[in-house]
Symmetry: none
Subunit: 191 residues, 4 copies
DNA sequence: GATGAATGAGCGTTCATTCAT
DNA sequence: GATGAATGAACGCTCATTCAT
């Protein structure tokens, strides 16, 4: 039976190397060495490099979802939900900066474009937490009357850019700073 | 003697191909073909692919600076300057979507990190327009009392994320929408 | 204890896959799956792939020998024996086209050359049916005075080439056609 | 400009290595070494290994056609034409045993099956010399009334099998032997 | 100065074989 | 005895770079 341990080691090695050196700067052989497995072993767990990259993304997404959803309730006021999600996202990425880098790599690549296209245009079973938040915000007339995608950009665009600078070491995001950025973003979306 | 025309052709070919296919999806040979020059010729103008990529970035930055600075005056009120820069940036990227894609590729790569590090930490002769704007905004107590880098993120983070969606075709940014996004960002940074 | 059933399953799987996809188009893992055994199990019955390939050939040869020898008697006239062998061979290959394909693959490979060398030049205990037929044909002056190997080629060369075309579906060999080809070959070898 | 010399060297190396070791026993790297070129160079002349293999086959076919057609006239009697083609083929293969081995490898592989299918079923511009010979033979009632493909097998099947044995060193085909085999084949096809 | 044929290191991937279970 | 996960050498192929013309 395929060992989850090994699969995890491969995933961990891949995320680290890809986050650091980019997709084509992280050869399969290097990932294998770092994971402590043979080169061929990776292919027992992932059909090919593309599949590895995509599956890795999906695992990360799941991990994030679980993280930010803990303690989250759609019953709370919009503003509180907004702050919750924003704060949790910041915390997650600060705790796992490699994940952030990986996600950024992914989004800025053909992989990411295709994925995002599927997600936005495709038939999705469950409604996204974020979409839901903005829909509620609009319905309750708490947020500016803008397309949901735009509200999303206003809410999380600064998070993405400031995380970049944090990871590069140009700024340091502590709890206070996170709170203030989140507040500023709220000022941007609130009516 | 090296011909500027040829250099330009190479740069134009590179930007188009890299924006579309990514750094490693755009081989030198392909760039050469598209530029209408021999493969070896590129190396007379650029020491290697890395140099080409970096110089291309610098050219783009210059082009953007010139574009957004036209009609710009540091004598005008902060808010007006803010709107001017934001609007111009949107217009530039909508007019030259390839440039935006290239920039994004660049920022999310070892190239970008190294470059940004040099720029922020290094000794820069001229003060950046944006830095200047935020310094003035702080001095005049018009903007929130936040680090300049954070103000930058709040001001342009949403621009970047919404441009991504615009280029992928998920939203359509017209003048009205640009104005509304810019207003929202202003709400975010203004005191 | 090693089970003959399992050995047979492996052999059956190997012949089918190799006949269809060639030696290097039939990985051991694929053979194992088709045989319903573990990949490592094959190596308990056959030292390695080469051995498997060679033993498979020998099994096939045995099977053919048994098939064509049923009802065969060296007491009958040359011509009748010739027709018997030729016809039986045709029938065998038409019934088991995979066997024919396998044999052809084998003969046209380093395996085949080595094997044939051993057989012709080596010390063989039992005299080959075919050799015996041609020796008798020569002794009785019924066949052309040619080297035995040449008589063999004249007798069975057309069989091989026409079987190829039959299997590929270019011609259809029925009993009448088999008889006529056999007659023609006889015309070729008879004095 | 691509040098025909180099292309020829690659072809020569490929034919030798493939004839000796088979398609998968002759890696591109080995072909490159033997041809005295870099590994990547092969790909400037041939899109990939498959193309190299197919093109090599076509070159060989051309070479054979030219060789056997020299001095050939469709005006001569059937028998003479038959003897001419048969003899020339023998001579060609004896002179170029590697070519024979290569052809056999090719015919016994997916390449060969596909090719033969195209040739027989496809729309061919020029009528094949052999087809033409057998059609004339049938029309003049000189040959047995059999399908053309069968006449072909009767005429050249023995050639193929005896060439195999000649190359392996089991028999030695001199002019006399060639003549006698050809005569025997004629006995097989003639009415 | 310009070329593009030539190069070979390095990539993603396969598969015969091994060995711990 | 049987298994199949693990291995890594070896494959086909790409592409940044060089250099003879």
């Amino acid at each position: 039976m395929l060992k989850p341990d090994k699969r995890d080691e491969i995933l961990r090695a891949a995320i680290k190397l890809i986050a650091e050196y980019g997709f084509h700067g992280a050869p399969m052989a290097m990932i294998a060495v770092r994971a402590g497995v043979g080169a061929g072993t990776i292919y027992r767990y992932f059909e090919n490099k593309d599949v590895l990259i995509n599956e890795l993304y999906r695992e990360l997404e799941d991990k994030i979802r679980k993280y930010i959803l803990s303690g989250y309730s759609t019953e709370r006021p919009i503003r509180e939900r907004f702050v919750h999600l924003n704060t949790k996202l910041f915390r997650f990425f600060i705790e796992f900066p490699l994940h952030f880098r990986y996600l950024e790599q992914f989004h800025n690549s053909p992989y990411g474009a295709a994925y995002r296209r599927d997600k936005i245009l495709g038939e999705s079973d469950e409604k996204d937490v974020f979409m839901r938040l903005f829909e509620d915000g609009l319905a309750q007339q708490v947020m500016k009357d803008l397309p949901i995608l735009i509200l999303f950009c206003l809410s999380f665009g600064p998070l993405i850019t400031s995380m970049r600078d944090h990871i590069l070491g140009f700024i340091s995001l502590d709890d206070i700073m996170i709170e203030r950025i989140t507040e500023a973003c709220w000022d941007g979306v609130k009516r």
